[in-house]
């Protein structure tokens, strides 16, 4: 088989906010950049982000990046690296202005400045009064940003490979990444893309769980590709459950609803967050609110015929605010929950939402393999940004409004660093046939036909196992069983057969490749979770209820080879300011 090949200065896999912001930097610098995306770029999941992007612009209340940094460190339950967090909070401000200059239709204040709303976990003056730091375009901020970035990439004439699936990274003996094997979905033909640098920006993998706010496409492809290329994944046990998904369906109701003044009630009509977080109440950090909701339901104070959810009350805000600031969630509530939030409260329950962990990178987006002594070894030619990466700025729990910020700041930083790096490495490295064959084998494996388990069957089973064994509350027993079950499913994967062997737009083949990816990252999640014997941020254990800063103020690092776990110290030293030492986290 002769493999079609293309050559570019830079290859970006994934066309969400991180990928497109990096591509924009590169294309503006007149480099040849290829963006590979398994869906048309504006279908990427950044489009679903609702609430907004954090930046201390101080348009509404007094604010500065240092307060933002404090909130982020505290929100991370002190597991975030403080150098990266300082970088992100500082960069937030120029990043948002740049977005605005690029055309994002932000909502506006009367003085013409960008509208900023209150979001969970935000404070003024290091834990003081509520801040308003989240820049919003109504409740469609992700949509507005993604479309704008795509539009700017059209202007910059970025080369897009739409509906191409990233199959496998190609690496040489030194471990340097030389590009990737992709699959053109429309024709079913493989295409080898050689690149001097490769950026993974493939987003999260919420599809590991059965009930999720994540799109069908969020299958952690980049993380799994990295794992198979010998790169570990960091802090995978930290999976955020967003407190307010539409009950039973998982679609998200933005935290912005509570930011605008909405609040949660149980079946007695009690505003129960006052008990769990007396100060911040409904705007406490997401892990806190999610656990509160699950506790209310567990203790029999849930609403509805099955007492399996709580209610989000909004109607007191009035028709005007709802129409102006929350038009999208009103539409979603009507369609998916059958309620108009201007009249009735919305039934909500936590939904799997966001991966704090991912491919370890430095703050320039370069992928690094961490060692226990705190040193880091750069993987030549490989970058990662966005939800698939772990810088780590979110630590054990991400604050609302910091995910759009993460993808934009680090997408941009990765783009800049790639530009610098290409100056020193102007040539393509040679690619060996053996390396290519290894990647192609991943495709040919699915050409085996005959009797076997179906992709659907295994996928359904796997997602159920993950939900049952790595959900909001985690005990040793439940998770140990989970590890065994995922291992068994991983074995079963060998017996999965594809019934449909046709070439043209074969979505079954894509789902098979995605299933392999899901199981790889599922394993990283359950193993990392089982081993972390403390409760921190989103990782909550009834058998180890306290945070343990003596033994566990460190990042978990999972390697696929031998299912090995390693640990790396948290970077507690910021770039220019004083360290925020760990403190009890109360809201």
């Amino acid at each position: 088989m002769t493999l079609a090949r293309r050559r570019f200065d830079a290859l970006i896999i994934g066309a969400g906010g991180a990928g497109l912001n990096a591509a924009l930097q590169l294309a503006n610098a007149n480099l040849r950049v290829a963006v590979v995306s398994k869906v048309f770029p504006t279908r990427s999941h950044t489009v679903a982000a609702q609430g907004g992007v954090n930046a201390a612009l101080a348009n509404v209340f007094e604010d500065n990046w240092h307060w933002h940094m404090f909130d982020t460190v505290k929100g991370s339950d002190y597991l975030g690296d403080q150098d990266a967090i300082e970088f992100m909070c500082r960069e937030a401000i120029p990043t948002v202005y740049e977005l605005e200059h690029n055309g994002v239709p932000f909502s506006r204040l009367d003085n013409g400045k960008i509208y900023q709303r209150a979001f969970g976990g935000q404070s003024q003056n290091f834990g003081g009064a509520q801040a308003a730091r989240t820049c919003a375009a109504a409740d469609r901020t992700g949509h507005a940003i993604l479309h704008t970035l795509y539009q700017q990439n059209i202007r910059a004439r970025t080369h897009f490979f739409d509906e191409y699936f990233g199959v496998e990274l190609i690496r040489d003996e030194d471990g340097a990444i030389l590009g990737a094997l992709t699959l053109e979905i429309e024709t079913g033909e493989p295409l080898l893309i050689e690149a001097k640098t490769t950026l993974l920006a493939t987003g999260g993998g919420g599809q590991v769980f059965r009930t999720t706010s994540n799109a069908h496409i969020n299958t952690g492809d980049g993380m799994a590709m990295a794992l198979r290329a010998g790169v570990p994944l960091m802090d995978m046990e930290f999976f955020q459950f967003h407190p307010t998904g539409i009950a039973g369906r998982g679609m998200l109701i933005t935290e912005g609803v509570r930011g605008e003044g909405g609040y949660l009630i149980n079946k007695d009509g009690e505003r129960f967050m006052e008990r769990y977080a007396p100060t911040a109440k409904d705007l406490a950090s997401r892990d806190v609110v999610s656990r509160a909701i699950v506790t209310e339901v567990k203790e029999g104070r849930g609403c509805g015929p099955n007492a399996d959810h709580v209610l989000l009350k909004v109607d007191h805000l009035g028709e005007d605010i709802i129409a102006k600031r929350l038009p999208g969630i009103r539409e979603s509530s009507k369609i998916f929950a059958g309620v108009d939030p201007a009249v009735e409260p919305i039934p909500v329950f936590p939904t799997a939402h966001y991966m704090m962990g991912g491919i370890p990178t430095d703050r320039l987006g370069q992928v690094v393999i961490p060692a226990a002594d705190g040193s880091e070894q750069i993987v030549p030619g490989l970058y990662a940004a966005g939800e698939c990466a772990c810088v780590s700025v979110h630590g054990a729990n991400r604050l609302g409004g910091n995910s759009l910020l993460d993808i934009l700041v680090f997408g941009r930083a990765a783009g800049q660093q790639i530009i610098n790096n290409l100056k020193d490495n102007p040539e393509h490295r040679p690619m060996s046939e053996a390396a290519i064959d290894q990647a192609v084998a991943r495709l040919t494996r699915w050409e085996q036909s005959g009797e076997g388990i179906s992709v659907r069957e295994l996928r359904d089973e796997f997602r159920k196992v993950m939900e049952d064994h790595a959900g909001v509350f985690r005990t040793d027993e439940i998770m140990a069983e989970g590890v065994e079950k995922v291992k068994a499913l991983r074995e079963k994967l060998k017996d999965v057969r594809l019934g449909d062997q046709s070439k043209v737009f074969n979505t079954a083949r894509i789902e098979a490749l995605e299933l392999e990816n899901l199981i790889d990252i599922g394993m990283a999640i359950v193993l990392s979770a089982l081993e972390r014997k403390e409760s921190r941020g989103a990782h909550s254990r009834p058998d180890y209820t306290e945070r343990d800063d003596v033994n566990w103020l460190k990042h978990s690092v999972y390697f696929k080879e031998g299912d090995r776990l390693d640990y790396k110290p948290v970077q507690t030293k910021p770039l220019t300011v004083e360290t925020f030492p760990p403190k009890p986290r109360v809201y």
Partner: protein, 230 residues
Amino acid sequence: MKFFVYRYNPDVDTAPHMQEYDVEVTRGMMLRDALMEIKRQDEAFAFRHSCGEGVCGSDAVNVNGANLLGCTTPVSELKEPVNVRPLPGRPVIRDLVVDMSQFYQQYRAVKPYLIHKDALPEQEILQSPEDRDKLDGLYECIMCGCCSTACPSFWWNPDKFHGPQALLQAWRFLADSRDQATEERLDALEGPYKLFRCHTIMNCVESCPKSLNPTKAIGKIKELMLRHSI
């Protein structure tokens, strides 16, 4: 519930056909859920979908003659038997998957990006809430293609007429107080084809799943063009 679904796989079929499926309807089932159930029954069935909440715009299909989004259409609202076909007027790649490249090309042709010529301020470019309100009903487009593929003028001249989606976006930038390329944009829309194939049939308005109004936007472009030419 009975579904008749358009099936065509160029690898095996010589001609398209409608295939019957029976789907057990569950409470709150959306059309996308039904299509996923059909894929469960028949692995070889292909359709695009992703977010499941009407923001990514992947799963636009033609159902009982009307273009709509699978994920925001409750099956309870559909008349049985449900006929599901690919979006009309576009070349079929496989089953419900159509080739949208011409549609995307028309979008690119309207220069759908902000052009600001003055030096940029250190902070945001100011915009009054009133000016920002003018973008409502325009920027929310999810590029699902329901409108343009429901437009007879786009069926007849998809290579030359921009179509409602692209024209809505053309107006989105003309209406933006920060944009400084009004003259160029208007000049580029001149001629009998790009803009003026619109005969206000209004299928676009009828079919938009986000309740946007491309016809109104097209009217505003014509009005602005007239004002700039007299």
